[in-house]
Each structure stands twice: as C-alpha cells, then as structure tokens.
C-alpha cells in the first residue's frame, strides 16, 4: 500500500508545552484510521500540523511525497486535504448551503470583477448544485437556506463534513465528529462515515473520544498520549494494549 501521508519525527512545542514529540505515522491510500488519546494528547495539534495551521519545530509531513512545509497554508486544500474542527467552525453569516459552497471555493475561478459584472452565474450554479447534492446525501436538504445557528450541534457537525467534502479531498481529517450526537445516533453516524469512505474512495483519519464508535469504524487505531505515539495497530490489539488501557480506556469509558 503506497503511503499517502507520511509523518516522521514530528515535534510541536507551544512555549513550554510539547504537544507532539517525535511522532511517526504513515497512512496508506484508502485507509480509515482512528486516532485516540486522552484530552491534551496532541490529536488536534497533529491535524493542525497536517493542514499547516501549525509549523512544527521538527519533523516532516509528506503528502503523496510532497513536503507540506513548502506550501503556504491556503494551498494545502489544493493538494486534497480537508478537515473538520473539534469545535464546529461553520460560518454563521452564511446559510447552510453557502457554507458548503464555500467548501467548494477552490473549484471556482470567479474573481471580484467577473462576479460584480454578473459573469459568474454559470459557475455559481455549478457550485450550488454540488452543494445541494452533498446536502441531499446527508439528508440535510431542507436546511439549505437556514443559518447554521438554527441547527443542533450534532447537525452542524454533519454540515461541516459536507463542507469538507465539497472541497473534493483525498485525505479527510475528522476531529471528534461524533461529539454532540446522542448515544443512539452514533451507530448510524458510523455507517455514514463508512459509506463515504467506500463510495468516495477517501483516506480518512478520525479523532474520537467515543471509543465504541472508533472501534466499530476503524480497523487500525493509533493512540497518542502526551504527544507520544504509544500504540499503532489493528483495533483489537490496540484495545487490549495495557498502555492504551491505562491512558484512555479507564478515563473515557
């Protein structure tokens, strides 16, 4: 399996806090990897490094062989990386549909002049169709015109995934996507992620506290603790790993 994502020796310090310390991780094309670990383990920081929100002090991130450190942050989307945020990051001033259209930003060309002169109508229509198709896929069509504030937290997480997909990613990073869902909704949500993974041939890394969710979804699990990778392997093995049990299971179960 060719590695789509290759992280090596990644170290990220914030002042005195070492959020990541020498993390190695390879994710193959088409894999669905679960990333677990207690609060403050560095999971979100790892995502921040993969999207150039953080500039790590040491180590490298290769995406399909290309060093991401060479790219300005806004170019990472163009390389096929999309993510959601731990706390939803929808734009409150845009409707649900416009949020998803904003996700497809990189597929548009229209500049200010073209748009102001009314020459961007065709492109707008295309972006809108993309957005509506995605919303329909998530069963969110009826909320297209609503402001995101009108939706419950769990639903905004779905909209954010739809927005990330609108960018047309190869690698999708989901940061605690099941947060805010009622326990009864979690299995259906896992099914949705599994279907997206299969149908869109995505590579997905998903951070989740919800251990049952991760175990049911991912065959491979990586565990971080205080910035160190303490386990990486098949779900069954990782679940029984004493270090992982000590770090996570006791707390989050």
């Amino acid at each position: 399996m060719a590695a789509l994502l290759e992280v090596s020796g990644l170290t990220m310090r914030f002042g005195g806090v070492t959020a990541l310390s020498g993390v190695d991780l390879a994710v193959g094309e088409g894999e669905l990897v679960g990333l677990i670990g207690p609060n403050g383990a560095g999971k979100s920081t790892l995502f921040d490094c993969l999207t150039r929100r953080c500039a790590p002090q040491e180590g490298r991130v290769l995406l399909a062989g290309e060093d991401l450190a060479r790219l300005p942050a806004h170019r990472v989307a163009g390389r096929g990386v999309a993510r959601t945020f731990q706390n939803t990051a929808l734009f409150p001033g845009l409707s649900v549909r416009e949020n998803v259209m904003a996700g497809a930003h990189r597929h548009g060309r229209a500049g200010f002049w073209g748009a102001a002169l009314g020459l961007a109508a065709g492109e707008e229509r295309r972006l809108r169709e993309t957005a509506d198709a995605l919303l329909a896929r998530f069963g969110l069509g009826e909320y297209a015109d609503h402001p995101p504030e009108a939706l419950p937290y769990g639903t905004t997480k779905l909209v954010e995934i739809a927005r990330a997909l609108a960018a047309g990613p190869r690698l999708l990073l989901l940061d605690e996507p099941a947060g805010g869902l009622a326990p009864a909704e979690v299995p259906a949500f896992a099914g949705l992620i599994r279907r997206l993974h299969a149908e869109l041939r995505l590579t997905i890394v998903v951070v989740e506290h919800h251990l049952d969710f991760v175990l049911s979804l991912c065959r491979r699990i990586v565990c971080l603790e205080r910035g160190h990778k303490i386990a990486d392997g098949p779900a069954d093995a990782v679940r029984r790993d004493p270090a992982v049990v000590a770090a996570c299971l006791g707390v989050t179960r």
Binding site: H74, A89, F91, S95, A102, A115, L127
Partner: protein, 343 residues
C-alpha cells in the same frame, strides 16, 4: 442516515431575525410591490421636490455609494478604514481637475476617478492587509491625515486652500439639479447591483468566511490577504466614484471637505446604518447627511462628538444598526400576516 438526521432534529431552534450581521433570511413582505414603488418614487422625486431638498437627496445617494464600498471593508471583511474620506476626496479632485483644469467632458471623470482610487486602494491595502487589523487602521489614518495638506501644496492644480469651483453637468430638457439627480441615481443603481453580485458570489462568501473563521477559511483554500486586498481596492474605488459624483453635485471642491472628520463620519454611517446588510448603506447615508447638519445647529464643533456618541450608542443598543432594527420590525409585521400574502 435518516436515523442521524431524525434524531438530530430535536433541539431545532431559530435565532431572531435582525440580530446577526449577514443574516440573509427574507423578512420583508410584498417585495415586488415595494420595489416597484421605490422605482416610481425615485423617478418622480425630482418633479415634486424643491431644488434644495432634491440636492439633499442627491447627496444622500452620493454618500450611499461611498458607504456601499466602505461596507465591503468594515461589514464584509471586518476591517477598519479611517481613510475613506480621503479616497472620496481623491475621486472628487480627479473629477474637478479633469473638468476644471483640463476641460474634459464630465462623463470620463467617473471611470478616471474609479481607476485612480482603485489603484490607491491596492497600494494602501496590499502592505497593510498582509498584517491586517490595526495596521490597516493606521495606514488609512495616515492617508486621511496627509491628503488635505497635500492638496493645499499644489494650488495651480487644486486651487489650494480656497478650493475651486467646477462646472456641473447639464442635460437637455431637465433642470441641472434634476439631471444630476438622475446621473447619481443611475450610478448608485449600478453600484448596488455590482456589490450585490459580488457579495453573493465566491469572493463574497470568502470575505464572510475569512472574517468569521479565518482558520476554517484558510483550510478551504481561501487566501485571506488576497481577498481582503481586493475588497479594499474595490471599496476605495466606490469611495472615489462617490467623490466624483460629489463634485458633479456640488460644483465645488475644497481640501477641508475631505478631512479625517469625513472618514470618521463615513465610518459612523456604515456602523449606524448596519453592517453587511443591503439597507445599511442607504440608512447610513441618511445619518451621514443629517447628523452633521443637525449637530452643527447646536455647536459648530458638535458633529464629530455626536457621530462618536451615536456609534457607541448603536454598538451597545443595536449592534446590527438601523437596518437590523428595521428587519426586526419587518419580521414582526410579517409574522402577523397570513402566509399567502408574503409575496
């Protein structure tokens, strides 16, 4: 999937209309009828109003064009400009010099003012917007402070501290003030259409995204500095066009019209009218025209103070400005109407 959605429906809530800037929900009933009435009223106004009142209405439209542009920076981009009075002044002087000194026909002064202020907007915005926020405020503040003395330095061209009179446009078959009103009205209509198209497009979404969640915007591939700089250049261009219209309307330019105080009054108009909302610039223009005149009756030094106090009052009491208040009122009215009548 339906399981997720069905359960997620619980807890559905809707915030009140008019509380958030950029809320695009429709509130106004009878939209078509209201639009038709506005067009008729706008076309009939010059034939019923006395010249002095028509002059005031024309000025309101001129300021509305400037505020449409300023709103792109303050409302949509979430940045502060203290220099739009200066861009307005540059547009006014470009028109005045082209007409008064070079003897060029007035229609060419509009695109010329637009081009010059667009370029100036790029030049001022490019370095500042890489750093953003306070830096833009400082750079634009400097522009506003530098312009009046600069205009006074070259009296052969600008007329110096005394300013200079300029021939106003004349149209056949109409009084001058009526003709100017229609010129300004037509320009304002084009300006509104341009901003409307722009803010509803990819670029407009990017501005909102960058203002509300810069990290998420960047992850989606939006380059903040580039979008903000373009928005700033557009905004300066709108101010410049408004300045040229101001020269056409008043037939006079003087450096002390375009001081820092004008920049602050424009900023007050944008905030008080309502940010990132269609009615905001027009309502703000009413404030820009009416408040200084009313305040001057109290005391010649009062306009700045009154503008400042009004900004504070609005930010506390009605953060979405007059437009937000109107929308809340319209939503309350619409809620009492039978559903079928909301055209």
């Amino acid at each position: 999937m339906t399981g997720v959605r069905g359960a997620a429906l619980t807890g559905h809530r809707r915030p009140a209309v008019g509380l958030a800037a950029g809320d695009r929900r429709r509130t106004w009933p009878w939209r078509r009828a209201a639009l038709a009435m506005t067009v008729v009223a706008a076309a009939g106004l010059p034939f019923v109003l006395p010249p002095y009142r028509l002059f005031q209405v024309t000025l309101v439209l001129v300021y509305a064009v400037a505020l449409l542009g300023l709103d792109l920076v303050v409302g949509h981009s979430g940045q502060i400009s203290l220099g739009h009075g200066a861009f307005f002044g540059v547009g006014a002087y470009v028109a005045a010099v082209m007409i008064g000194r070079l003897g060029l026909p007035y229609p060419v002064t509009l695109p010329a003012a637009a081009l010059v202020t667009y370029g100036l907007g790029w030049a001022a915005g490019l370095p500042a917007l890489r750093l953003r926020g306070l830096y833009l405020a400082v750079v634009t503040f400097s522009v506003a402070v530098v312009l009046p003395p600069l205009l006074k330095r070259f009296p052969e061209v600008t007329g110096g501290a005394m300013g200079m009179p300029v021939a106003t446009p004349r149209g056949a078959g109409l009084d001058d003030d009526q003709w100017i009103y229609f010129l300004v009205l037509a320009t304002a209509a084009v300006a509104v259409a341009g901003i409307r198209n722009l803010t509803r497009s990819r670029g407009g979404r990017a501005l909102t995204a960058i203002r509300q969640h810069p990290a998420a915007a960047e992850v989606l591939g939006m380059q903040a500095a580039s979008h903000l700089t373009r928005a700033f250049a557009w905004s300066a261009m709108y101010a410049g066009v408004a300045g040229a219209l101001h020269t056409w309307t008043t037939g006079f330019v003087a450096p002390d019209t375009f001081t820092l105080s004008l920049s602050i009054t424009l900023l007050a108009g944008a905030v008080i009218g309502g940010l990132a909302t269609p009615a905001g610039p027009l309502l703000g223009a009413l404030v820009v025209t009416a408040v200084p005149a009313a305040a001057r009756e109290l005391n010649p030094a009062a306009p700045g103070l009154v503008s400042g106090l009004l900004i504070v009052a609005v930010v506390y009491a009605a953060p979405t400005g007059l437009a937000g208040l109107l929308r809340r009122a319209a939503a309350a009215v619409a809620a009492r109407l039978p559903a079928g009548r909301r055209a």
